[in-house]
Amino acid sequence: MSDAETEWRRLDARMLLIHPVETVVRLLPALLALLVARANSDSDQPWELYALPLIVAFGVLRWFTTRYRITGGRIELRRGLLNKQTTTAQLDKVRTVDLTARIYHRVLGLAKVEISTGGGQRDRLVLDSLRVDEGRRLRAELLHRIDPAVTGLPAPTGVPVTVDASGTDVSATPAPTDEELVRLDPGWVRYAPFTLTGIATAAAGVGFLFQAVGRVRDQGEVIASGTEWVRGLAIWVDVLLLLVVVSVLAAVAYVLNFWGFRLTRNRLGSLHTRRGLLTTRETSIDHGRVRGVQVDEPAGLRLVGARRLKVVTTGLLRERGGADWLVPPAPAAEVVRVATDVVEDDDAVTAPLQPHGRAALRRRLTRTLVPTVFVLVALAVLRSTTDAPAGWYATAPVLLGLAAWLGVDRYAGLGHRVTPRHLVVREGSLDRHRVALERDGVIGWTVRRSFFQRRAGVATLVATTAAGASHYDVVDVTVGRAYEVMEEISPDLLAEFR
């Protein structure tokens, strides 16, 4: 290679401090077990101390053997001592760059850089860790190679930040060329209890709390009397108390995740999000990879007039929680504004959608009512063999009513629309989302018909794509309409098979 002399770069030496901390955190359960075991034994050999030099040695070895460089239109990452590994990625395949700084990274002014070049776990290069400004410069180099003139410009999210001891890089102001699309309003925390993720986090927190309480109950006089007090209360007070606890925990989770959330767009159109209270996270998405947006409107958020926004892009892994969020739960108007701004297509975000017709409604109702009836019958049979009280029969109408509501609401969620630049698809009830997918992002079609769909004369039209969830479905449209949509978006393709 002609430019073989391009300099290899190393990770920041301060990662040597981070590595032992991370290892200790990861081994914390084992260490605790060891400590407990030692407390109960007579041996006073400090075994755990022997491990420390080993951990440090591993860190030093990693620092010495990990090198990276950008050369000849590629980024190369080399690591390993005996088993040398070289990972190479074409620069024009780089899709997203992630900077994550946990609390201990921030104290040292470091950030972990993750470079994604495809959809899979193998398609990523991880540099743990670089200095924050160096990470940002690398990101600029990676995402801006399109125009060599631009690579000379300052880093995309602003002037390299001088990180002080408290690591307040969240408050760094963007360079004047960056356009700010959204900034977190602290008042939005009120939406946290209405999201499923918020509630799930809260539930996990409550569960953890109960376990912890269970562990120390024997000694905890205060806790014991506390539980007694809670038991003594009326049921509605208990429910209220639970709601308050869940809401507070959800709000805490929201603050931890989204504090200082900001979405900016630089002059090349790349999107940058930055968020987090303790662990800060910056995600940069090359605008050339954006294939659309997804407006989430789950039932809880609909109830309070809120929405949230995600980006549909290639190169983000789905399990990487929240990397694709463009707006956290926020007022609908705000989300619509940002969504319109990103896709530059009003109709795709706000225009009414075409409903899917009676057959779709019938199928939604069948799917919610039949299982409910089945469960009720099973319960009735069960009751006839035991002698449980007949009181629960009163719940049957309630359950059926809920099932019918769910069916109707799921039907109300179904809809699609073809705009000059996008295919718009909406579905779901409790987890309703509206996706605007760029026409160019569609890389294939599937028309799927189950036995019952054929009888009802409907089909599920699937637009496959490399971005986001990799397929977006138009559920239960009439067969004729399915082919019309395909025709409208990919006329050449259908012309082949007339």
Partner: protein, 173 residues
Amino acid sequence: MWHRGRMQTEEATTLRAPANLVSRRAVTLWTVEALVPVTGLLVAQVVWWLADDDPDRGVHWLVGAAWLLVSVAYVLVMPRWRWRVHRWEATGRAIYTQTGWVRQERRIAPMSRVQTVDLERGPIAQLLGLASVTVTTASAAGPLRIHALDLPVATELVETLSAAAVLEKGDAT
């Protein structure tokens, strides 16, 4: 069969079925493949018969009858039904397949988005001189599979597709 007639009358106005049928030996292949799980269930039943100490064999006969009914239907009907549904077509610009039996699918992908073309031959397929072709696109949800082609047809298809895919530039996302 009614399901085909129905599909054709409904969809003739917009899209015809793909032109080519798969190999006639596909029926044999699918029959053999169907025998594998059916035989597995039979073995399980024999083991149950031998292991059960209860002198009353009524339940065994009942389950056995159900097994016989479902198995015969599956082994006889599924391969023939699938053979009537499975079709494929490849032009210079697109590839088009129709698969399934109870659940039927039509898939279309433009040649410009094709990333890889694979030829697969299982042990039974090798004995019968058959091969399957899998065409993947950049979408995790979009592979197109053409099952049970005659080997010469399959190899020719792979060559055509590979040549066409190479001509296209970009990363096909």
